[in-house]
């Protein structure tokens, strides 16, 4: 008996969650087929995996017994399945079970993280089973590129498995945000863009200097579209981003349509070697998601999950409330819209009044609660119900879910419904599995951010004595137009702004079918076809009567109405021939495959303005309509192969090779061939005698090269023209389309990555892993700003080279462990150093500007410096560093050149989770950090020039400022600096930074330490009497964004920046406030 019997048995394994953190409380379950050769080499696991009970032929009997863990404690929830059938049971709270079986039956006892045992039922009616932890074997199965399952020990590169508990228990509307600080090497940035927004994920730094370094998302082996509808993810005119006026909104990304409850497992392939088989799209790393397609155990299981959170706005404004609304030291006393957004008024004294709107006299008093008065609490409710079946030959999973998320902006709501059906079915030779996910997303009124009109910016620049009820009650005039409240008419009254609508509806179907045929036990062929299809309809208006919009011609009403309809399809068809055979001590695993990828996107947009009739937002009602149609297709064909040679199960050498042909490049540039080589050595299994404390040890090495046509959209080689839909008195108007100079000679870029890693476990308990990596991206296609005098704004060139060098580590240890109590610490950290090596020029200090702020400052890439340097104008200083003031006006002068402030990308990040378990109560606390980067805060720029920042208080009492520093009483050539003694009016002085676009005063260290999550959970299952219906109850209380432990950024939450694009990293423009969320997660199993 015997190993042969095991040949085709599914083994459930526990994994120690290497490379990530918080893992000892959470486990992921993956099915794997154990290969015979691996079992042969696995004697060290020491498991008599099958217990032969002595038996004689008997009729049906009832077996009872108790399942215990390694500490001889009862183990509840263990699956006991009669092999070859669907009948089985689950152990109860104290680990005991009862099951009717036939004679000679084989029980398969499985539990996550423990070695699976098979027991042949003999002539005893009591079978107690002592389960053994499955740490030693490290039978951790990783879903690697193309969906190939591999034993983790064979891998020569870094991967991290992520338990679904990590993002389903303490969840955020954007579920990936919950992984912030939990996975070594992975930097997740939540954005201040509302619940429907995107998540910014960067693995091992920014892979390139381009705008989008988001990893590839693969669901069930098929890449899905992760298009991002984030604010300014354009950055250059090839991006099909948002269309229409005042549409700086983030309406999510590809991950948005995935229900986290459907995810069975997620692994993060970090480096190039890991992702080599995904080739061109994998240079930023890959997030592999496997959705559920059968139950974890046997029989039929029903699971219900309810998640609820409520979020309150975190108001970090530290404004001055001594001097109120007004300009030049005067409060508003006449019936005209004052600035409304300036607080350079009078000192607030009791009993004072101000005149607002059309002669409305209201008290002149501090209004410190504007944010809390205006914004609602956010809430998020997710209901998921799943039915699954499972058995030896397959099973299925069907789930439906509904998530309703309300943002803090009144009227902002995000609803997502998903249905997911997965199945797997096996016969002796053929395995067919499939998955289809339908999602429906309905976004209402996503917040506009980063611009003055209709946006959160206004909430942060409302005069500090502006009463919100007055703003609300006077938002509209008698005709329904916006009533002017500020002489700056592009500052939309926030209550008027609420009258606009914006609806986004997205339907999406992701489907994949895989068939795998095993010709023999060493040769198989797999074919797979998958499609990601979505359609997205958006319509929104700019309401009639908006002050910032010009008046319509006589007889018409102003405003805008836009409809935008998009359809996207990505088809992937691939095949994989796999050869797997052992020759003595040598194992060979080789594959050959090919992939055909086709994408098509079309966009139909119609913008209407100058309406015939009021309050009717239709294209037909618009007298002026601008239609636009975009069609983009791209195709990539690929062939690839891999070979893995193993020696005695402890030495592995793996190589891959791939060739891609891109449609986006001209024929002589479109083909690229690239390889990877990795090796790993499991030293703990190499020698006969290893010390007991050395549980596991592996050393790995990897090198890879990946080519990519990322950052090249289709049709880049040609200049295009456009004929405008509107003529001028019958005369046609046409022009060159776009401001980017086409370049025919673009070729694919290359990413070369080398990594060395160590994975160890000591004393069955202390996990330590680290990786050192170096990734260089060569021949990057850079959107380079050119002189406007060339007629164009930018061009694309294959010139740039940049690198990331880093070290990432994860450590897990239980400082204290007893029968009832365990304290576990899991920590990870990544240190990443990026460098711009070349921009076509290798001269140190040469730079290009890649992005500009909505307010002040710009982002550059500078040769010899870390990537993403923030630049901006500062103050002119004398040789001693004193600020030089204009000798006449006393206003500070602008620096001769823009100043480099530092990189906008963190140089280290990570997190520490402390978890405590006591008799089923689990408490975990996550602290995360990001350090070493800078921000130019647009919110601060506004707070400063508008007189909110406390730094603008000096001088108010006397009505003038004498700027600290010097003035030049000599000439420019022969300066003579004397202390500045010029009196400058207060507002004039502080406003000066707007005139010269000064950033220096608004640069801050962007680093933060945050108490990100607290989760308190209890598994009530053990309290439930042996009940036939309810098999499990778990309740967790959760809190997210609990507290900021350290930050230098004033007025806003460190995560409040809402801009997705890497071309605007660190150029903060006010986003929607971040919320502190508390709630619960309830999981019921039937």
């Amino acid at each position: 008996m015997n190993l042969k019997l095991l040949d085709k048995v599914f083994v459930l394994s526990r994994y120690a969650m290497y490379g990530m953190f918080l893992q000892c409380v959470c486990y992921t379950l993956v099915f794997s087929e154990v290969r015979e050769d691996q079992n042969k080499g696995k004697e060290t696991s020491g498991e008599p995996a099958v217990i032969e009970a002595s038996y004689k032929i008997m009729q049906d009997i009832t077996i009872t017994g108790k399942i215990t863990d390694e500490n001889a404690q009862g183990l509840p929830g263990v699956s006991i399945l009669v092999k070859g059938t669907t009948s089985g049971t689950i152990s109860n709270i104290d680990g005991s079970y009862s099951l009717d079986v036939s004679e000679g039956a084989v029980l398969v006892v499985t539990y996550v993280g423990y070695q699976t045992k098979e027991i042949i039922v003999g002539n005893v009616s009591v079978i107690d089973v002592a389960m053994a932890l499955d740490v030693k074997a490290l039978q951790e199965v990783v879903i690697t590129a193309l969906g190939i399952e591999k034993d983790k020990k064979t891998l020569g590169y870094a991967t991290s498995n992520v338990s679904s508990d990590e993002f389903t228990t303490n969840r955020t509307p954007k579920f990936m945000n919950a992984l912030q600080g939990k996975v070594a090497g992975v930097n997740i940035t939540q954005l201040g863009s509302g619940p429907q927004g995107s998540t910014k994920i960067r693995i091992r730094g920014n892979a390139s200097l381009g705008k989008n370094n988001q990893p590839l998302i693969v669901v069930n082996g098929i890449p899905i579209d992760n298009s991002n509808f984030g604010v300014n993810n354009g950055g250059s005119d090839d991006a099909i981003g948002a269309t229409g006026p005042n549409n700086n909104m983030d309406t999510g990304d590809g991950l948005s349509s995935i229900n986290p409850d459907d995810i069975e497992s997620m692994s993060v392939l970090k480096g190039g070697p890991a992702a080599a088989l995904y080739g061109y799209r994998a240079r930023n790393g890959v997030i592999m998601i496997t959705t559920k397609n059968r139950t974890k155990g046997s029989g039929v299981r029903v699971e219900y999950n309810l998640n609820y959170t409520n979020g309150s706005v975190i108001d970090r404004r530290d404004y001055q409330y001594e001097y109120g609304q007004g300009e030049n030291g005067q409060r508003p006393t006449t019936p005209f819209p004052t600035s409304g957004v300036w607080s350079f008024g009078e000192k607030i004294e009791p009993g004072m009044t101000q005149v607002l709107f059309d002669n409305l006299t209201v008290p002149y008093e501090a209004q410190e609660n504007q944010l809390k008065e205006f914004y609602d609490n956010a809430s998020n409710v997710t209901n998921t119900i799943a039915v699954s079946t499972g058995g030896e030959n397959g099973g299925m999973n069907l789930s439906i879910s509904d998530m309703t998320s309300k943002g803090v902006l009144p009227g902002n709501e995000y609803n997502r419904k998903t249905a997911n059906f997965g199945f797997t079915q096996k016969t002796k030779k053929l395995t067919v599995s499939g998955n289809i996910t339908y999602s429906y997303e309905n976004i209402k009124n996503p917040p506009n951010i980063g611009e003055q009109d209709f946006s959160a910016v206004v909430m942060y620049t409302l005069a500090n004595t502006m009463p919100l009820d007055v703003l609300r009650d006077n938002a509209f005039d008698e005709f329904g137009n916006e009533q002017a409240w500020s002489r700056f008419r592009n500052r939309t009254n926030p209550y008027f702004a609420l009258s606009r609508f914006n609806n986004v509806v997205r339907d999406r179907i992701i489907g994949v079918v895989t068939a795998k045929y095993d010709f023999t036990d060493w040769l198989s062929l797999q074919g797979r076809i998958g499609q990601d299809y979505w359609s997205r309809d958006q319509d929104f208006n700019v309401p009639n009567g908006t002050q910032s919009k010009g008046a319509a011609p006589a007889g018409f009403v102003n405003g805008n109405y836009v409809t935008d309809i998009r359809r996207f399809r990505e088809l992937n068809a691939d095949f994989l021939l796999a050869f797997n055979k052992t020759f003595g001590n040598i194992g060979v695993y080789a594959t050959f495959g090919g992939n055909h990828m086709y994408q098509r996107l079309d966009v139909n947009t119609e913008q209407g303005s100058n309406f015939y009739q009021r309050d009717l937002y239709t294209i037909g009602n618009a007298s002026q309509v601008t239609p636009n149609y975009i069609l983009q297709e791209r195709m990539v064909n690929s062939l690839y192969g891999s070979a893995e040679i193993s020696y005695k199960g402890f030495l592995y050498l793996n190589g891959t090779i791939r060739n891609d042909w891109f449609s986006t490049l001209s024929p002589d540039q479109r083909s690229i061939l690239y390889p990877s080589v990795t090796g790993s050595w499991v030293w703990s299994q190499t020698f006969e005698s290893m010390p007991d404390w050395m549980t596991f040890g592996k050393l790995r090495l990897g090198w890879s090269k990946v080519g990519s046509d990322d950052d090249i959209s289709p049709y880049n080689q040609s200049l295009f023209y456009r004929v405008e839909p509107q003529n001028l008195n019958g005369y046609p108007i046409g022009q060159i389309d776009g401001g980017t100079i086409p370049n025919k000679s673009l070729r694919p870029l290359n990413t070369v990555e080398t990594e060395i890693g160590l994975e160890t476990m000591f004393f069955d308990n202390l996990v330590f892993e680290f990786s050192i990596y170096k990734r260089t991206a060569e021949n990057q296609i850079l959107t380079r700003e050119v002189s406007n005098a060339s007629g164009y704004s930018n061009t694309r060139v294959n010139v740039a080279e940049s690198s990331n060098k880093g070290l990432e580590f994860a450590i897990g240890i239980s400082p204290f462990r007893s029968t009832n109590f365990e304290w576990r610490i899991d920590a990870n950290a990544t240190f990443n150093k990026s460098e711009v090596i070349s921009l076509g020029t290798d001269v140190e200090g040469e730079s290009i500007t890649v992005g500009n702020s909505f307010f002040h400052g710009e982002l550059r890439q500078v040769v010899g410096r870390p990537m993403a340097q923030l630049y901006g104008w500062g103050y002119l200083r004398d040789p001693d560093g004193n600020i030089i003031h204009d000798a006449n006006s006393g206003r500070p002068l602008r620096s001769a050149e823009q100043i480099e402030f530092g990189t906008a990308i963190p140089t280290s990040w990570g997190g520490i989770t402390n978890s405590f378990t006591y008799k089923g109560i689990m408490l975990s606390v996550l602290i995360d950090f990001k350090l070493g980067h800078k921000i130019i805060s647009g919110t601060h720029v506004n707070a400063y020039r508008h007189g909110f920042d406390k730094a603008t208080l000096p001088g108010r009492d006397q009505g003038y400022v004498i700027g600290e520093g010097v003035k030049n009483i000599g000439t420019d050539e022969n300066p003579e600096y004397v202390p500045n003694d010029v009196q400058t009016p207060v507002q004039t002085y502080y406003e000066t930074i707007r005139g010269f676009r000064g950033s220096e005063q608004s640069v801050f260290d962007a680093g933060s330490w945050q108490l990100r999550q607290i989760t308190l959970g209890y598994d009530f299952t053990r309290l439930i009497p042996d009940n036939k219906y309810i098999k499990g109850v778990k309740l967790s209380l959760v809190a997210n964004n609990v507290a900021i432990l350290a930050t230098d950024i004033p007025h806003i939450h460190p995560d409040q920046n809402g801009i997705m694009s890497d071309l605007q990293s660190g150029l903060e423009a006010t986003g929607i406030p971040v919320t502190r969320d508390i709630g619960f997660n309830l999981n019921l199993q039937f």
Binding site: A484, R487, N490, K549, S663, T664, S787, G791, I848
Partner: protein, 497 residues
């Protein structure tokens, strides 16, 4: 294996064809884009028109400019960032394609004339600018064009105009789709010659022999002959008058007529004031500027003095007898300031006044006074082209001309003062002609700002865009070292002291 791969390659090629966009358009369409986009915008009000004391704003911040004589990059970059990437790019691309084509001489010539016009505005604004290498980002892959000297730019503009005008041929290719004159070759010839006159006269201070030589070579019968020859964009939604948009929309209560301009028109009993100015009497807010309180009565118009910003306006209000800033006179947004008002490039009135000066200088044959009077008359008649009832009565015209005959000794002052009025809202030329001629002798803005300590009382040029400093530094630096520091007070070549 080979056959399927060839098929794959073909498929990849096929996929990479964009079937939804055009690979070419008629260059005339691009000319029309240039015509529509070349007009002034808000940024030109805060500099060009505020410098010569016609319209300005008491407000600072984004509207800062000549009102406090400060650099405001938001506005100084406007001509550069509008002309090069939108206007000149299309003109240069169209000219390149027409030259390749070789059969459409008229189309090519009118694009060259328009290009000369736009480059003149550009160099008059900044001085030395990229010219010979400009707009060639695609054609020559020239991403960082060098700056040409203004002297060489003017020299080329003049020869371009001469050569393009002489190539125009009424029996040549049809240009009926162009938006400026609807394909009328004769009008293009007159526009071209009138522009040539303007370009030549621009050199009067720096190189009068050249100016004289070119002016004397112009056949006067090929200049504009009446207001029917005016070069203007007939604005129509959505292609509105970009300058006037500021008098109507979000900035509508922010711009006011300058006291110098209003006072001058009042003092001279100018019938145009009634057509230009409107005052919302007693208005205390932008919302209070309603038709019920509007008055166009010239006698009660009050221009806003320059100097003070919204700081301490109380004194000014008292001095001027108004109740608030909103009570000062504005450009009438129903007439000359309407969004659909025509946008002028070159007018018959301006041409006659330049001709008058040329005659006075002896560079052209004919009576200076006759051209001077014709210039005034033309401008007053031009008002009939604005929306609203704006035609000036012929009797009023005659009376004004009778009272303002050209007097010996003050010819240049009188001619150029009338040019100043005739250029009101008409493109960019008012400021350039003021710098060139030195007339009228305007009082300086008391708020000298960045001009303080310099020898200049008025802004002589606008500064280069910040972006050029970071992107095209070497070329820009060469220009700065030739021309002088990149300041508002630095004089450009033709504006020699």
């Amino acid at each position: 294996m080979l056959i399927p791969f060839t098929a794959c390659e073909d498929k990849l090629d096929e996929i990479n064809q964009d079937v939804s966009r055009a690979r070419s358009v008629d260059p005339i369409f691009q000319l029309n884009r240039a015509i529509v986009n070349q007009g002034p915008a808000g940024a030109n009000i805060v500099y060009d028109w505020a410098i010569i004391r016609q319209v300005h704003t008491p407000f600072r911040g984004v509207l800062e400019g000549a009102n406090s004589n400060q650099v405001n990059q938001g506005s100084t970059v406007r001509n550069w960032n509008t002309f090069y990437p939108n206007v000149l790019k299309n003109l240069i691309d169209g000219i390149y394609n027409l030259q390749e084509d070789g059969t459409r001489t008229n189309a090519l010539s009118i694009m060259r004339i328009m290009k000369a016009y736009v480059f003149m505005v550009c160099t008059d604004t900044y001085g030395d600018i990229p010219y010979s290498e400009a707009g060639l980002g695609f054609i020559d892959q020239n991403l960082f064009p060098a700056y040409d000297t203004q002297a060489s730019i003017y020299s080329d503009i003049i020869s371009e105009l001469q050569s393009a005008i002489s190539a125009l041929n009424a029996s040549g290719d049809n240009i009926g789709q162009e938006a400026l004159f609807g394909g009328d070759i004769d009008k293009w010839i007159r526009f071209g010659n009138s522009l040539l006159l303007r370009a030549a006269m621009r050199l009067s201070k720096v190189d009068s022999p050249t100016a004289q030589a070119i002016v004397s070579g112009i056949n006067q019968s090929n200049l504009m002959q009446s207001n029917l020859d005016n070069a203007f964009v007939a604005h129509q939604t959505p292609y509105n008058n970009g300058g006037n948009a500021n008098f109507n929309n979000q900035e509508s209560s922010n711009f006011y007529l300058d006291s110098v301009f209003v006072t001058h028109l009042q003092t001279n009993n100018d019938p145009r004031l009634e057509k230009i100015a409107i005052r919302y009497v007693g208005a205390t807010s932008g919302n209070g500027q309603i038709p019920d309180v509007a008055s166009t009565d010239p006698a009660i118009q009050v221009g806003l003095p320059q100097g003070p910003d919204q700081n301490g306006v109380e004194d000014i209000l008292v001095e001027n007898g108004v109740v608030s800033l909103y009570d000062f006179s504005q450009v009438n947004r129903n007439t000359v300031g309407a969004q659909e008002a025509p946008g002028y490039l070159v007018t018959y009135a301006q041409t006659m006044l330049l001709l008058s000066e040329a005659r006075f200088r002896g560079w052209a044959a004919g009576d200076a006074a006759e051209a001077y009077e014709e210039g005034i008359r033309a401008h007053m008649r031009q008002f009939a082209q604005y929306p609203g009832s704006t035609a000036v009565e012929e009797a009023d015209i005659d009376a004004y001309i009778a009272a303002h005959s050209l007097s010996s000794g003050t010819e240049l002052d009188q001619i150029n003062t009338e040019y100043w009025i005739a250029s009101f809202l008409a493109g960019y030329d008012g400021w350039a002609n003021f710098r060139r001629s030195g007339f009228p002798a305007l009082p300086a803005n008391p708020s000298q700002g960045a001009l303080t300590g310099t020898s200049e009382n008025f802004i002589r040029r606008l500064v280069y865009p910040d972006a050029e400093f970071s992107i095209n530094f070497e070329n820009l630096n060469a220009a700065v070292s030739r021309q002088g520091a990149d300041l508002l007070s630095t004089r450009i070549w033709w504006d020699a002291n």
